[in-house]
Structure formats: structure tokens, C-alpha cells
Symmetry: D2
Subunit: 364 residues, 4 copies
């Protein structure tokens, strides 16, 4: 069991890649808020498959229906349920996988876990398709946070060897994020990334990358010590996105090579407000927000589904074997992961923010 | 609120650096198990302060008392409560910090969060001292896992520029881990790390590093999709250790630069068992264990408490100011973090393992 | 926030009386189990409105669709989502209620809670209609428990002054439960109850009653001390059914007037098994099952919606006022509450049973 | 596992009757509040054993120590841990119980559950002694609620056949509650109850009773639909008190015999505020508070430990047997249960109140 998230909101994700639908229930949202459905559709469009040759050719309109939680276009306090019907399903593409697990996929451990009863078509509940309901739920959270002055933006920081301009940790350039398929700060880097993805595609291979995310406008003191700190909550949400293999906050792994005198960010007053003069801490100290931008990066592995022939086992025969994948797959999931990282981060941050509001209400 | 962990076990940590005690309550442990208290004391000793010049000079025997949960030396099914009295407290050392927050510490956001009522002495509940009860609870979990054939070991993978031999991802060398202050595979690297720490100490500065952790003997299919996968649960626990700023599983951030054909680990039969021939996936696919060793690394920042003068603010005056720390501090927390990473990982893995047992019991 | 239940399974209920749909997501169900959909439909039919003159005239076929969680007709380990489209909706019937709260209903406190943004049509998320998805989820749990030899049955113990034959606490007569609209042991009592309901209907009034529930086949030692005992878990689930105002286990409130020498149930061996010779404890001691039948009763209040004119306030005018209800309402909800009590009890018992299996697996 | 309560606060209870200590950790309390320790000691005194011949002769001073969570006498935001050392322990009294389970006690199912490894001395973790830490935690909650204008008071409503004056459901007489051993509104009834207890004591028997509890000053709209309504949360807490066998809100089981026209409480304006003119709903509609007094009653069974010889089994011999208890036991637990009901109710209400504050903060 695993598809439930949150303490102050509760997000329950359901669906399989080739089931009738994927969807999400969110309990704990504020009554009275009117979600902007056009904005939500725009976010969904950024994640949508079949956009161009660089992404999977599965054609899904990703139209969603709101089954509950609204009254007269506003959140009414009841759980919000949104569903997306699965359209372009081809379960036949996946028959072989029950006995020949795909390298890099959950097929093998899922088969053991569920005793062979898992839904293998398209990866079932393990499919990247489940990021669609994550975006629906997170898209609402993004709007709720924006109404509180909190903004979240992410970009592709790296694909293969190509680097985008990094976020300025003191003032992330959220207004400069590009609108193209590969969301970047430096559009030339974006074009080079597209070229790198296309090379991998032509090689019947795939590539990974790094997504960098920034959150601005956070209050001071949000989070907590130990197990419900900002890093704990964000990482427990973000690892819910398939293909994420690492996360680092602020200077992250680079901090391991730094001395304290360099890594410590000095405090100072600016315009009557306490700030730090650098932001190696990435906006979090002791699990608590400092009021500085929250910055983190996640590592996205290369898509496991590639068209090159691969070595695997034949579980029915008990022998080593090989596999050539059919189906429709992204040569690089990183560009489509950007809105998902934003959405899932929004769920985590909104959950933390509600906890913070509760504490402020009580403690002052 | 934040100091509670777990779904199948529930760990509740309490205490402040200079309160009467620190301690932990663990609910959900199996009745009948007889913890080896000598072994637990040996683990505590590895974390203990005041071991040598390289660690804080605070002298704490770290003797613990079991208040409940045992009957005739065995776990009796009731919550296990263990406490450590704080001995060598010097609250006077910390008076200045209420108005002059230490760079790199939680002082400032905690002051805002708790409205100035937080316990500032020694960092209060945010202190590294809280890793002592984490080790107590985790030490029990380590023993419970060992009884199931699951072993956890960690080593210092890097301090400043010095690298230890990495774990073999197919067969981590847990039996070769050194017994010295800096736990390593290559004892020469350990000596160089000690020298690096000592240089930082003499410079009144600090250094960070990387800890690598391996878990062997795990069953296949432990964990789950989405939010309660292995990475989610381990990261939400491990970020409970102060000073951790990043975590990566398997190839981790390096995966971002790899192609799928290289990163995907081929399946094969060996001795009638399904294995992978490489282990870039670090033992986890789709949030589920594959039966291969679980490997992850965490980034530890340089100790925030350094003796060099630092820039900060004076909150009572509303002006920029500076600060020279007193007190007793580790020039490098990394060596003492190793047993803590093992212990906290054990809590997370044991929680996942109980979930797994439940599922196996039902689903077969 | 409130519509999420369970620790080992997680049930998330959504929907409003006049929203597009009501439904439920259940996470944590065992892969491989093939639910009997005819049986589930039969349970739904027992709860269905519009059955006769004694229940609401709202005509709902209560056909459900499974959106996810099945593969080839079996549970596949992914969350199970089931939805029921709302058909015969007449939101116009409810316009007046936004300003004139119905006595005995949640209208007034919900209006304050949600700032006037709640869905008032048909009571919104507070409607008895939400018991339909509870029955769907609980119906699956009933089948899972039955496969383990655990049976749950309830009957109408009392309506107004009419009493049914009570359950034999040592051997509840589950096989003798009648199939009619009012589920009873003594069919004559059932007929008298129907007459009592009809009298209330003709008086434009309503009546309440008592439902008695029994669970047989439980293992010994299921549950726990303090907050997750059998009574805690069952009561926290059962109070999720609208109109329940009390619950008592075993001798219940009558125990308050008994002496210990009478109330204590003596232990004895029968056929090599430990039993109690009476069952005032209702199958639970110290929060743990004893292996004897679990027996409890719940008090159901008279339906709040009556057609007699009632005194209320006009919130927009700030004056006292009166109200004559339109719409379609049950003169007595008790008969239709019986399958709901069975279903919700099944959710609670199944959650406890999974915890028990986990403990047995570990502790032996 | 079971000894953890709460969603907004988290209460973790530990200890056994004859372990070194019993205690509690509470996470999530507001920083800055200064608990009145004299008041807390006064509450503890009301629960304390050994007060007179009517209660157990175990002499426990019930002095508690605060191990963490305070700084300068105020809550500091860190988890509050309070412990009570067990003093007058006589484990020898309980040796026989491992093989001869006491009727009405958890001995038998606990032995099965924990495989014989449970702590049998004095009932171990199932002992009424665990209500001491519940009172400590709840005593803090009572003070926090009082500071918000919310008051909780309980009285013995009935012991054997003797009835106290009931609470006026529109205006509970909290200021008239007596200070004696048996807390009542009508002191003559209290004296008669004492006489009834004494008769049971002389008969080497025990009696049960009913405790009635009222909460005033609650806001409107606290709670939620379905599983986290006021009744769900309070009942899941209150059944954590050993010996409670039933709970009813407002008219409770009597509602089952009422017609809707009588049971429905009419709304009216009084002094510009919406009130109900009667209070059969006991202050809760649809799981939400209405602003009227919250009223509920709990059934307390007769103490299971009686000195009359009782029939039981000998588990080691596999035969029927008998048992004459030694040890020190209350002939009636009801008077000492009153402060425990108040304390546990305070934990539940405070948890609900925090949720309410969070919602108000967000939703307005």
C-alpha cells in the first residue's frame, strides 16, 4: 500500500496505465476557493504525451472530469475527485512482459510482490501515466499556494552533458522560464537538449537528466525538526514520481566537499528583514524554512524502456533470455517530468503550509 | 510537530540537548525478542561524543535506562521506552544565541516558529544530541533485522577530498568495515580523513562528507509504488538526521548522465535465482526491492558550529552583527553520523519489512 | 477533513448527494482475490433507496463502475476505485436550506464550517447517499473476511417499541437472518416494525431504532491495548455512518448496573478450546478479541428529515422561522442502515485483521 | 500496536503496571504556554489510588517528572515527556495469572497475542495504572482548552441503582460538581453511591456505573463528516480507557425510541446567536459541533478483579480450574474514572480543536 500522501491534505491516487481510468481524491482542501480550470488544463498539457517525436506516441487528450468536491465551481469542503479516462490503450503490446521482465522496470519485483496478479499492461499502477493524476492534484495545490504568494517553478537543469543556466539561489528566475517543450532558462541549452534527446531516440536508446526546482514566498519557520521537516516531506513526495533516483537541497552533495566557513550562510538585515547573504542551505535549516528561496534538484534516470535489444530472463522457462520492446516510449522523460516535479512539490509544500498555519494560529 | 516516525512501528523521539533527558518510545515491536544490550551499548559507543580530539569535548557516558517494554529481558509487546539522562550540560554557553542566531543552524527559523519560546541551550530539540535516542531505537531495529538475515552497514565514503573504496554494489563488503573512529573499507583513506578533520579543527573550521550505506538480505518486492516506496520511506527517515542535505540511490545523480542502455541492469539467472548483472538501480525498482543489495549515499554538510568569527544579525538590536562561538563542537560530524545512518535506516527498513510480512501473509 | 479511514487498508470516500458521482478508493487490498460482483450487487440492493413506500422515493439504480484496481477480474494490488453515478437528482428541492437549516441535520454547522460554500443539495457530502460507497468498499471487505472464515451479520434489534429476538451472544443466529426489507430473526417482529414505520410515515414523522451486529470466526488476540483496540477502531468507523448516536459492546450500558461476579464471564475448556461460558464481554477484553463472538449494538436516531412543519431560523433575515421539507426521505433509516453497519464493520474488522496477521507473522 | 493517539497532537503512552515507570510523550503542543503544575497535580490526585477503603490499597504518590518539552517553565515546542516512577510494586502477587487467566481481564487474549511474553504483573500495559499518564497528557490539554474558553467536566451519573442529577443539556452545571471522592451534582446521591461501593467491597464483589461528560464553549463547525467527526474521535480516545463498554451522545440509545418530531432540536435565535431549544443532539450534528454543549455518557463495567472465587482455566494443565485473586483492587473504578474521562476527552477535543483552527485559518 502506498498511494496515499499527506497529513493535512490527503491525496489518494488510483488507476493503471490501461485500466478504465486514472484519477485522484484530495481531502482537506479549503472550501470557497475557485480553481482555474483553464490553468489546470495548461499544466496538464505540459505533461501530456504525444506532443512531438521526442515523447511517447501514445495519444491521450488527458481530459479530466470532476466527480465531486465542487459546488458552483468552487471547492465545497468535500473531497475533490478528478478522473481521466484512459483512451489509446493497447494492452496487447505488453503480453510478453509477464514472463520477461523489462530491465530497469518494476515488472520483476512487482510480479513477486503481487504473486503474478499485478496489472502488467503498460506497467499498471507503476506506469508514468500515474503522474497525470498527480498533476491534477498538484495543479490545484499550485493555485492555492499562488493565492498565498508562494510560487513554484522548475526547469531542466541538465540532460546528458548539456547544462542549463542554474537558478540564482538568492532570486530564482521563475519569470524567465521558457514555454517550450524543454523548460529552461537558456533557450539555446534547451535546443541542445532536444538534439541530445533526438540522438538517443535515433539510437533506440534513452537519456536522463536533472530537474531543479525553486519555491519562493515561503514563510519563516515552516516545517519541523526530525521526521516532518521540509526535506523529509518533500523527498517522501518527490520519490513518488517514477524514475527519480536522488534529491539534494541547497548546495546538496557539493556541501560534502565544503568547509563550514564557506558553507554557512551569513545572516544580515536587508530592508528590515533577516536574510542570508548566500543560500547554500537552500532555504531550509533544521528542517525549517528560513524565508530564503527553497532550492532542490532531483536526478531523473534514463527511461528504462528502450528499443535496443536487452538481456533479461524468461521466468516461465527459468532461463536467461532477451527482449526487444514494442510499445510507445519517451526517449527522455525529463522534459515531461518538470511539471510533475512542480505539482508534487506543491502537494508537499501545501501540506507543510497548512501545518504551519495551524501552528501560527495556535501559537500566537 | 515532527518527531514521530513509522507506520508499522511508531517511533516517538523526545528530549533537548540540555533538558533532563533525551529518549525514545517505540511501539509495535515483536514480543519475545531479547535485545542484546551489550551490542546496543557498542553501537551507542560509536556515536558517543568526547571520543577524541576530533569530536566534541562534551563528555556524555550515554548510559540508557529502559523504562518500559521489557519483561524478563525480552520485549513484551508494550511500547519500549529508553531514556538517557543528560549529564555534562552547560546551558550558560548558549545565552547569546537567543538574539544572535548561528549561521547554518536552526536558531533563527526556530525562534520565529516557536515565538521565542524554543529551548536554545545546545540547539534544544534540534541538537545532534537527539541522534542518541535515534541510535537506541535503531539499534533494536538493527538486531531485529539481523535475526531475519538482513544486514545494514555504512562507511564514510568521502571527507573533503579524501575518498574511501566504494561499496561493491553487487556484494557490499560489510565484513571488511573498519572498527576505528572513521569507519571505512580502506584504512589508509581513514587515516587521511582523520588528518583532514584535524586540519579543519586547527583552522577553527569544519568539513563535511558523504556516507554510503548498504542493506543486504532483503526480500524481493518489499516497498510499494508511489508514496511508500523504499526511497520515500528511507529518505523521510534519513532527513531526520541533522546535517543531511541529499540522498541518492544506486547510480543516483550519476544516472542523470547515463544512457538507458548502460543504466538498465540486465536480469539473469544465477544459481536458480533472478539477479541483475550490474546494480545501477541500487536494489530498488519502482519503489520495490529487487533482492539485490540496497545502496544509497547521503551528503553531510560541514558542521555549522565553527570557532571562526562569523557574520550574523542581532535580533534584539535589529542590526547586523558578528558571533564567535563558544561551546563544544565536532569539527566534522561525518564519522559519528555513520552509526546514526545505520540506525535510522534500520528503523525505515524494519517498518517496510513489517509491511512486507503483512502483505506476504495475506497475499499467499 | 475526515473521509479517510484505516491503517492497513486506506479507504477514501468521495461524492455529494447531487454531484456527478459518489465513490470510494481502497488501497491495501490483497492481489489475486476475485471479488464476486453479483454478491456485491446483492449487498448494494439491500441498501438501495426507492425499494418501497417505507424508504425514500429517490430512484437510484446504484450501478457501480470499477475504474481501477482489477486486472482480469481479480484485485491486482493497485488501489481499487469504484464509482456510482448520481442519477435522479433534483437540486431544486434544496434551495431553501442554505438559509433555513433543517433541525437535526448538519446544514447549520456545515454552513459555518465551510463559510457558506458547502454543497447543500441533498445534504452534500453529509448525505446518507455516501453510505453507498461505504457499502461498496465494505462489501469487498466482507468477502475477504468470509474467505478467512470470518462472518458479519446485523439485524434490526428494535424500532420504536418493537423488539426483535436478540442475538445469542454465545452463538449468534447469522443463518437465520431474514431476507426481507427489515432484516430480523423473528419475522413477526419485522412485520410489526414495518407497521410502526408506516404509522410514522402517515404521521409525516420518523422513527429510530437499534441495530445489533455480530462477528464470528475471529482469531484470539486481535486488536490492541489503549487506542487501537477493537472497540476504538470499530466505533471510529461506525460513527462514520450518519445518524448513529451510540455504540455498546457486549452487555454495554447494562454492565453499568451489574456486579462483577455476574458480569465476569468464566473461562472453561470446551472441545480443547478456551471459551467463556457467558459473553457479557461481547468478545473483547482489554481491546483484544477473545475468540468468542463479537457483539455490539448501535443506536440510530429517527430520520431528521420529516414532513411536519418545524421551527428553525432564517439565517439571511436573522429571525426565527419555520420550515416544511420537500424532497424524498425515509420515515425510518434503520432497515437500510443494517447492510451499512455490516459493511463498515467489515472495513474496521478487516483493518484489524491485517494488523493481526502482521503481528502473528512476526511474533511466531 | 495501539498506544498512540492523535492527528494534530500525537500522544504516545508507555509503561507497565510493575515496570520501572509509566509515562507519556506529547508532540505538537503550542510553544509558550506555561502549564500550571499545581493544577496538574490536583487532577492526578483525583485519580490516585489508595485514597480510601473504596479504592485499591496500592500506595502510589504518582509524582511525575518532566523529562523534556519545557524551557523556563513553558512549553518550548519540543515533545513533552512526563514520567511517573512505579513505587509500590509487588510482582509476586501475579505469578499465578500466567497460567490462570482472570475472568474479565485481558490476560487470556494477551497471552495468545504476545505468545506468552506479555508482562503479566498487574496486567502489564493493560493495567488501569496506564490511566495515570493519560491524565498527565490530558491534564495539559484541559489547561490549553480552558485558556480558549473550553471547559470539560464529568460526574458519576450512576453507580449500581443510584442516580445522580443529570447534566442540564442546555447548560451543564459544571460549577456545581462536588469535590469529594465520588464527583456528583447531588451530594446525597454521592453518599449513597459510596454506600453501594462499600457493600460490594464487603461482598468481595464489584460494581460498575455510568460517567456523564460535558464540554462547553466549543466553536461551531468543529469536527468533520464521516470518519473524523466529533463522535468518531472522542469514542476512539475514550475506548482507550480500560473498562469502558459503551458510549452515547446526546439522547443516545434513548433516541432509538423517539420520533423525529420530538428528537429534532428546533433552531432559534437567542441574543443574536443561533441555538437549539433542546439538546437531544448533544451538541453534534453530522459529526460537527453546533455550539451547544457537547454531552456524552460512557458505561463503565464492574471491576473485573474481585475477591470471590471464580471459575477459569489452567492453561498449563489444559483443565478447568478456579481462581481466588490476591493483590489490591478497586471494588468500583467509576469514581476514579471520572478525571480520566475528562482528561482523555480533553486530548480528543484538543486534537479536534487544532484541526478546527487550521481550517478556520485557511478557509477565511
Amino acid at each position: 500500500m502506498a498511494s496515499v500522501f499527506g497529513r493535512n491534505i490527503r491525496v489518494s491516487v488510483f488507476g493503471q496505465s490501461h485500466a478504465p481510468a486514472v484519477g485522484v481524491v484530495v481531502d482537506g482542501l479549503p472550501a470557497g476557493f475557485a480553481p482555474d480550470m483553464d490553468k489546470l488544463r495548461a499544466l496538464m498539457k505540459r505533461r501530456r504525451p504525444g506532443q512531438n517525436l521526442l515523447s511517447t506516441q501514445r495519444a491521450e487528450a488527458d481530459l479530466f472530469e470532476v466527480l465531486s468536491g465542487l459546488a458552483d465551481g468552487r471547492l465545497c469542503g468535500a473531497p475533490l475527485c478528478m478522473v481521466i479516462r484512459n483512451g489509446d490503450t493497447r494492452p496487447g503490446d505488453y503480453r510478453e512482459l509477464k514472463t520477461k521482465p523489462r530491465p530497469g522496470h518494476a515488472d520483476y519485483p512487482a510480479g513477486v510482490k503481487y504473486g503474478g496478479f499485478q496489472d502488467t499492461a503498460g506497467g499498471g499502477h507503476f506506469s508514468g501515466r500515474l503522474t497525470a493524476p498527480l498533476c491534477l492534484a498538484g495543479g490545484i495545490a499550485l493555485q492555492l499556494l499562488e493565492a498565498e504568494g508562494i510560487r513554484i517553478g522548475a526547469h531542466v537543469r541538465r540532460i546528458e552533458g548539456v547544462e542549463d543556466e542554474p537558478f540564482d539561489p538568492l532570486a530564482p528566475q521563475l519569470d524567465r522560464l521558457s514555454e517550450g517543450y524543454v523548460r529552461v532558462l537558456d533557450e539555446r541549452a534547451g535546443k541542445e537538449m532536444e538534439a541530445a534527446i533526438d540522438r538517443a531516440r535515433l539510437d533506440m536508446d534513452s537519456v536522463g537528466g536533472i530537474v531543479e526546482c525553486a519555491v519562493t514566498g515561503l514563510p519563516v519557520g515552516m516545517g519541523g525538526p526530525m521526521f516532518e521537516g521540509v526535506e523529509n516531506v518533500i523527498s517522501s513526495a518527490v520519490f513518488g514520481i517514477p524514475a527519480i533516483r536522488g534529491i539534494e537541497f541547497g548546495a546538496g552533495f557539493a556541501a560534502a566537499a565544503m568547509r563550514g566557513s564557506l558553507h554557512n550562510d551569513p545572516f544580515a538585515f536587508r530592508d528590515g528583514r533577516v536574510v542570508t547573504l548566500s543560500n547554500n542551505h537552500g532555504g531550509v535549516l533544521g528542517g525549517l524554512t528560513t524565508g530564503m528561496p527553497l532550492i532542490f534538484r532531483v536526478a531523473v534516470k534514463p527511461t528504462a524502456s528502450i528499443f535496443l535489444e536487452q538481456r533479461t530472463v524468461d521466468l516461465s522457462e527459468g532461463t536467461d533470455s532477451s527482449l526487444s520492446l514494442k510499445g510507445r516510449h519517451d526517449p527522455c522523460i525529463v522534459p515531461r517530468a518538470v511539471p510533475v516535479v512542480e505539482a508534487v512539490t506543491a502537494l508537499a509544500v501545501y501540506d507543510l503550509y497548512l501545518e504551519h498555519l495551524k501552528e501560527k494560529k495556535i501559537w500566537s
